[in-house]
Symmetry: C3
Subunit: 138 residues, 3 copies
């Protein structure tokens, strides 16, 4: 069983996809299976994070913005891949640091997520993008 989730992003930040993934997994008849999610881009990531207080996502964005500042920040003057704008190479770095694939065990059509865990696409580019996450349940 496989599909592709489409996610429209409107700038940097975390976009929750837990609901659409859970709805798709619920259709499976398999007793115990592995759900693999794979982001088909080099400037966006998949993260599992707290789905309660939205300030957690604000702080996550702030941390990664400080860890990998935009290319026009003086501390990033060593970058050489700068043609695609100040958000591009930092986006590739964040995409290397954060997961490109996540595998979650499922039991009878339910992911074994912890109570506070949500699944997010983490967009690292500033402009709107159409993102694709390949999914396989097997």
């Amino acid at each position: 069983m496989h599909t592709t989730f489409q996610i429209e992003t409107r700038g940097q930040g975390l976009y929750e996809i837990t609901g659409q993934v859970a709805a798709w997994v619920a259709g499976a008849e398999i007793d115990a299976a592995a759900l693999t999610l794979f982001v088909r881009h080099t400037s966006a990531s998949l993260v599992i994070q707290e789905n309660a207080d939205p300030q957690v996502r604000t702080d996550l964005r702030a941390f990664f913005h400080r860890l990998v500042p935009p290319g026009n920040d003086p501390s990033m003057a060593y970058l050489t891949h700068t043609d695609e704008g100040p958000d591009d190479m930092p986006a590739h770095i964040k995409a290397a640091l954060l997961p490109v694939s996540i595998t979650i065990p499922t039991i009878r059509g339910q992911m074994t997520l912890g109570i506070w865990q949500g699944i997010y696409l983490f967009e690292h580019r500033s402009q709107p993008h159409q993102r694709e996450v390949a999914a396989l349940l097997r």
Copy 2:
């Protein structure tokens, strides 16, 4: 074949789980399979690291403590999610940075770990916790 491993933690640090995972995998009759481990929390991680010199784990903890200092460190004054104590938001950040799931090929009931590789739960909170790692062998 699926199970849940329970790990009692007593503060920040790396807790080895290689032995209990290996014992469970050894029961499988499958010739070639994928073992997925998934941590059901947003303030703990799974890492594979050197299992020889314990100083490697000391240094790993020290590095991540410097990379993501406690919330009461002046450099972290930008955090907004601070209600749950100075170790909470840094724990979420480390949980985003480090793996939430790891998949290891197994051959005839043995993980294909390298000779120096051990599997660890990395606890990011200061208080004792009961942690769960969902496991699937398929």
Copy 3:
């Protein structure tokens, strides 16, 4: 279906393995499967990155070299595991930060990689090494 890829490295940097992985996956008759890659070392990683402009790889290396400087850099004086040379403990830290395993859905013998995605072994040690990546398609 399982195999082990051998990669000869000649110092720190990213070594592309997309071609050899794609060739192996192409032999599979399975309609939809999960490809798991697992690096059997604690001082090398797997990353998926842009395969177009080689400056992306140059900048990635530069970022991680700044994030985790060699052990003889004054900022790393806190390290205790220093017997194996100034590149050793930083290599373990990078191996904790970056993926040890990646799972990619495949459809009829083709990985669902995005158009710009290549698969790389990221070598963190300075000396030449023989690296192994375990692969499972299931």
